[in-house]
Symmetry: C2
Subunit: 127 residues, 2 copies
DNA sequence: ACGCTTTTGACAACCGTTTTCACTTTCGTT
DNA sequence: AACGAAAGTGAAAACGGTTGTCAAAAGCGT
């Protein structure tokens, strides 16, 4: 028999459908528990795996070794982060998207994703 | 007292000086043991950490959760990494450098750095 | 060579993730 | 509506890479 519809999968899918931010498995688990869903962490992991395989989610590794998931979406953006106060600005750059795809294609790479973070000191923190 | 020169640190430094490939801590440990060096895995990890802090090494997270290290080559560049075999190509993009500086300046940020990694599947791994 | 301080390394702890396995749920079929 | 086979769930244990602990060893200014 094929894949079945369960309350837990619906909950994970719905949560990730509502945001375009990257979230870790345990963040998702906490969110759902906090919202009253009765769901196990194991199930969250398995559901996320399935959704990645079904190409409904993108997964990236954070710097501290966790995996973060986000629904695949057109129009992603990058972050400009203040290294003093942590303030974050979302920025977009169509030129970057085009450039990375081009570079990857030039080297024979397919299935391309990228990560870009810009760090600096924001106006308020330059005293 | 300052940092000390030890046989173990010299061995790790020399090994990574000879290659420009990304290697994991346990690969480095194995290499050194195989070459007759008596060195503990813990020491390898600590030495790599020190070298990253001293900006002598770049560290990236592989898809399966390991951290891989490689000596920094001169000149700022980015990485195009195959998420299947780990093969890495260094790419440069003056346009990216200009764009990130511009975006940061537009938002009043100074002291700007950025990180860009491109992930994909290389030609060999597309079977 | 002495002695203070750093470094080492076996081992245990940690943490995110995956596996195990008995129990529950789904859903095509009666 | 009820049955039963197959799929899904979740608590707990296992796993694998990395980090912390601490007593012993090594480096280096004197």
């Amino acid at each position: 028999m094929a894949q079945r519809n369960t309350r837990q999968r619906a909950a994970v899918g719905e949560l990730l459908g509502r945001t375009s931010e990257f979230r870790t498995a345990s963040q998702i688990h906490d969110d759902l528990r906090h919202a009253g869903e009765d769901i196990g962490l194991t199930t969250v992991y398995r559901t996320l795996q399935l959704m990645v395989e079904a190409q409904q989610l993108d997964a990236i590794r954070t710097d501290d070794g966790e995996t973060a998931y986000r629904r695949c979406s057109t129009g992603h953006h990058h972050h400009l982060v203040c290294r003093t106060c942590g303030r974050t600005v979302e920025v977009e750059g169509p030129a970057i998207e085009r450039w990375t795809d081009q570079v990857a294609a030039d080297h024979g790479f397919t299935d391309v994703q990228h990560q870009l973070e810009i760090f600096g000191v924001c106006g308020n923190c330059q005293h």
